[in-house]
């Protein structure tokens, strides 16, 4: 009894376990009748135990399990083996609809129950559906990948190919079979086993998640030499793990096209140079015979005049005039080709403007008179001299005047000249006004272009090459000026030629710099003639700043040369050996400090004083002087001098104590003080200063606050406590703005605090003057 109960207990226990299994289970006997089912079965298939137990499996739920595949399984497969796994059955069940069931079976020897078959049914419908979805997504992704025209390879972490896209197979003429699951290096008989690619994939890729535009040039056996642009991206691709997408763009054609363009450009540039050279040579060749024609006709003319053969003389004169005209045209072409080749140079000299105008008037008057015109000269008195390329100024004015004469009949041609100040700079302004046919706005647009006259018919009617105005403008621009025109058709034209009163070669260099920009391949090695006078070299990358510094330095009478960058600056420094250099701190190619270091490292340049300039944020402030290598602090000297005069003692020379720890600054300041008539004693620090005061009481102290061992402020306090020294005026030179506390401490015990100059062009000027005079002394000393 007890044993039976315990057997029942075990059965119940087994049934409980079976019921807790969430997968539907059926227990069948060898006749395929249901012995029992678990709770999950009844729930899943919505049937009761009454309509299930002891029934043939095929009869269950109105025969919903009478499925051919299941019959085959149960009747053919099961009897032959004791187990079967994962038999997938797809069937439409009347109550629960279409399902995919995964069947697993196991035969059990269940004691007196005999042999039982446990049939477990797992509903995998959902799982299969999501798997199908996933597959659809992957197919979708693959389709996208396949439509990309760029070859793509998807690699796993071990650099094995997961897949390639259609473009890959087509481009590299390989099949899917010989690609997938292979190491990338094995593909197509090792055609991808490229050292650069190995480096890329094995060294670079592991360290970064992306690389862009890696250019690979390789001779691929199937497709020949190609340039491939590789781009890669690492992806976290779910269960696929980390994948690397490698995109290969064939840029062979593009590179070839780029090369072609570069070659074409080079060819065009060469052709242009050849043209300029041809023009230059041609003009030269034309001038040689013309030389003879002119020479002989002049000679014959002289003989004719001497032999009193006047009729012959007039004819010979005509030959000479025509020949000279031809020569002028050839010269224009030569000039223009020289400008184009960047070989035009300026010959700067000082000359009297009035004299030049008189000479031009004498030359041009016969030409102007020819059309019944009157020439009127109306230049301002006392024009004085200008510094420019006289030949080019003459040529420009001559052009404007002869044009005016050509296009005016029975009218007036006026030349006036004046000296004007614009933008803090002196200009000489020439105006050529006529009462001729005038110009329409359309004609004005074309006016200054090379080989273009206002109207094609003009050429036939009035002659000329059409180069005159273009040349005039180019010449003016080379000298830092320009030509402008104002005209009313039918009433006349006014041409205004504006030139700096003092043209500097800097303008030339600026022009050269522009040329460099236009033709970077030519480099900036425009070898300028060595200047005859000593020059200041301005090194600044900012054209506006460069122009500004150049302008006011040249206005102050310095010869100025400019360089647009550090390297050019160094080169020009070597070439020019300037008396001083101003150096911008912030420059792109290499900054001012590096240039300074290079200057100081060069034995030939070491001695040249350098003034460092640095821009401040506020553009209104113009430029601020930074620490100069020589002068350390750009002190406002003028202000210093004023103060000095105020404290000068009755009997000169007055003793002044200069406390400055920087030797060069001390020397500079000393020279200023001495120039102002002071007797200077120096101290390189505050302590030494105090000691020297004990032997001689100065009537003024000039103190650099950043003096090292004892602070400047302490020094001031010391002096003020000493009753004999209390009344000595102290001028403090501070490198930076003082803090309010420092100011308070100094209070009334100092006479003036000079900060390093801001916004002070004057100070820079002083600085340069000072450095130049110092430099000159040094040179003389050598």
């Amino acid at each position: 009894m007890a044993r039976k109960r315990s057997v029942e207990d075990i059965q119940t226990y087994a049934q409980d376990i079976v019921d807790t299994v969430r997968e539907p289970l059926l227990m069948l006997d060898t006749t395929l009748r249901v012995r029992s089912a678990n709770r999950a079965f009844y729930q899943t298939f919505k049937v009761s135990s009454e309509e299930t137990e002891n029934r043939l499996i095929y009869e269950l739920g109105n025969g919903q399990w009478d499925i051919p595949d299941l019959r085959t399984l149960l009747e053919d497969v099961v009897p032959k083996s004791s187990v079967f796994n994962d038999f997938e059955l797809e069937h439409t069940f009347p109550i629960i609809g279409r399902r995919i069931m995964l069947l697993n079976a196991r035969k059990l020897q269940a004691g007196h129950h005999g042999e039982l078959l446990v049939l477990a049914m797992e509903d995998v419908t959902e799982r299969r559906r999501s798997e199908a979805d996933l597959e659809a997504i992957e197919t979708y992704a693959q389709n996208i990948v396949d439509t990309v025209r760029e070859p793509l390879l998807i690699l796993d972490k071990t650099l094995r190919v997961r897949s390639g896209n259609r473009a890959f197979y087509q481009t590299f003429k390989v099949s899917l079979e010989e690609t997938e699951e292979r190491l990338i290096y094995e593909l197509g008989n090792g055609q991808w086993d490229i050292p650069n690619l190995r480096t890329l994939l094995e060294d670079i890729v592991p360290k970064s998640s992306v690389f862009n535009d890696f250019e690979l040039e390789h001779d691929f056996p199937a497709i020949g030499r190609r340039v491939m642009l590789l781009n890669a991206r690492k992806l976290q691709a779910g269960h696929h793990g980390e994948l690397l997408v490698l995109a290969m763009e064939d840029v062979t054609e593009r590179r070839r096209a780029e090369e072609d363009v570069a070659k074409a450009k080079e060819a065009a540039e060469t052709a242009n140079k050849t043209k300029s050279l041809f023009l230059a040579n041609m003009s030269h060749e034309l001038r040689t015979p013309l030389n003879a024609i002119l020479g002989y006709s002049e000679m014959l003319h002289e003989e004719a005049v001497e032999g009193q053969m006047d009729a012959l003389g007039a004819d010979l004169d005509r030959i000479t005039v025509a020949g000279k005209h031809l020569l002028a045209l050839i010269n224009d072409i030569l000039d223009l080709s020289k400008i184009e080749a960047g070989k035009m140079e300026l010959f700067l000299e000082s000359f009297d403007i009035g004299e030049m105008i008189d000479e031009i008037a004498t030359t041009i008057r016969p030409m102007v008179d020819r059309n019944g015109n009157t020439l009127h000269i109306a230049s301002a008195p006392n024009l004085g001299t200008m510094h420019a390329d006289q030949i080019k100024v003459r040529q420009g004015l001559f052009n404007l005047l002869s044009n005016a004469g050509k296009f005016t009949q029975e009218g007036t041609i006026t030349l006036d000249a004046s000296r004007q100040v614009m933008d803090e700079r002196e200009w000489i302004v020439f105006r050529v006004a006529d009462t001729g046919i005038g110009l329409s706005p359309e004609q004005i647009v074309k006016l200054f272009q090379d080989f273009t006259q206002a109207d094609a018919s003009t050429t036939r009617k009035f002659g000329g090459t059409g180069l005159g105005l273009a040349l005039t403008r180019r010449f003016c621009q080379m000298m830092g000026g320009d030509v402008t025109v104002h005209s009313v058709p039918g009433e006349g034209s006014v041409f205004t030629l504006k030139l700096p009163a003092v043209v500097t070669d800097g303008a030339d260099l600026l022009a050269a710099a522009h040329l460099d920009l236009a033709h970077p391949s030519e480099g900036s090695e425009t070898v300028e003639p060595m200047p005859t006078q000593d020059c200041v070299l301005v090194v600044d990358d900012d054209p506006v700043q460069r122009d500004l510094i150049q302008r006011f330095l040249s206005k102050a009478g310095f010869c100025v040369r400019t360089a647009a960058g550090g390297e050019a600056g160094l080169r020009m420094a070597r070439l020019l050996q300037p008396v001083a250099i101003t150096l911008d701190v912030m420059m792109p190619d290499f900054d001012g400090w590096s240039v300074l270091a290079a200057l100081k490292a060069d034995a030939k340049l070491r001695e040249i004083p350098v003034i460092m300039l640095t821009m401040v944020d506020d553009p209104d402030r113009g430029f601020t002087l930074g620490a100069a290598d020589f002068a350390t602090k750009p002190v406002d000297w003028e202000r210093l001098c004023q103060i000095l005069r105020k404290y000068a003692c009755p009997n000169e020379p007055c003793p002044v104590l200069l406390i400055e720890n920087d030797g060069v600054a001390r020397a500079t300041t000393r020279s200023i003080l001495e120039r102002e008539g002071w007797k200077v004693s120096e101290a390189d620090g505050a302590k030494v200063g105090l000691e020297s005061m004990r032997s001689e009481r100065p009537s003024l102290i000039v103190l650099n606050l950043s003096t090292l061992e004892m602070s400047g402020i302490e020094f001031v306090e010391h002096v003020r406590q000493h009753h004999e020294w209390q009344s000595i005026p102290i001028v403090v030179v501070a490198a930076d703005e003082l803090t309010p506390e420092d100011k308070e401490r100094l209070g009334s015990s100092v006479e003036a605090i000079l900060y390093r100059a801001r916004n002070s062009q004057e100070a820079l000027l002083e600085q340069v003057r000072d450095q130049v005079s110092q430099g000159t002394r040094m040179r003389r000393g050598r």
């Binding site: 030269h284 001038r287 040689t288 015979p289 013309l290 030389n291 003879a292 002119l294 020479g295 002989y296 002049e298 000679m299 002289e302 020569l327 030569l334 020289k338 070989k343 140079e345 010959f347 003639p529």
Partner: protein
């Protein structure tokens, strides 16, 4: 009588310039290339040399250098004549030792001025 050596390979230029100079009273000696120019300077000892720069055999720059290197001819003023109106040519000529420089086409009054200035300077030096 002032003797001028004209070294010029172009026949017309040579003929023209020599005739014009002769008409003004100079004695003109001719040479057709740099080499013969140097030889003529040594043998004829002219007061001044007008030297074309682009000459056959020996160019004007080299001929001038040789003249200036020879004690016999070193003091002879040399005026470079060149068709190249570029300052680099001028500098090249002055570097070679030319005392002055003029561009072609020859502007006779201008050239005469330069000739006279050099001859005058020369004489002044002699008198000093």
């Amino acid at each position: 009588m002032t003797k001028i050596l004209l070294v010029e390979d172009n026949e017309m230029n040579r003929d023209m310039l020599s005739r014009r100079l002769e008409r003004r009273g100079y004695v003109v000696v001719l040479a057709f290339d740099g080499q013969s120019g140097v030889e003529a300077a040594r043998s004829q000892l002219p007061d001044l040399v007008l030297m074309d720069m682009s000459l056959p055999v020996l160019d004007g720059w080299e001929a001038t250098r040789r003249l200036k290197a020879d004690v016999i001819t070193a003091q002879m003023p040399v005026i470079a004549l060149t068709a190249h109106a570029m300052s680099s040519d001028r500098e090249k000529a002055l570097e070679a030792g030319c005392d002055d420089y003029d561009t072609k086409p020859i502007d006779l009054p201008r050239l005469l001025e330069k000739i006279e200035a050099l001859l005058l300077g020369d004489k002044r030096n002699l008198h000093d």
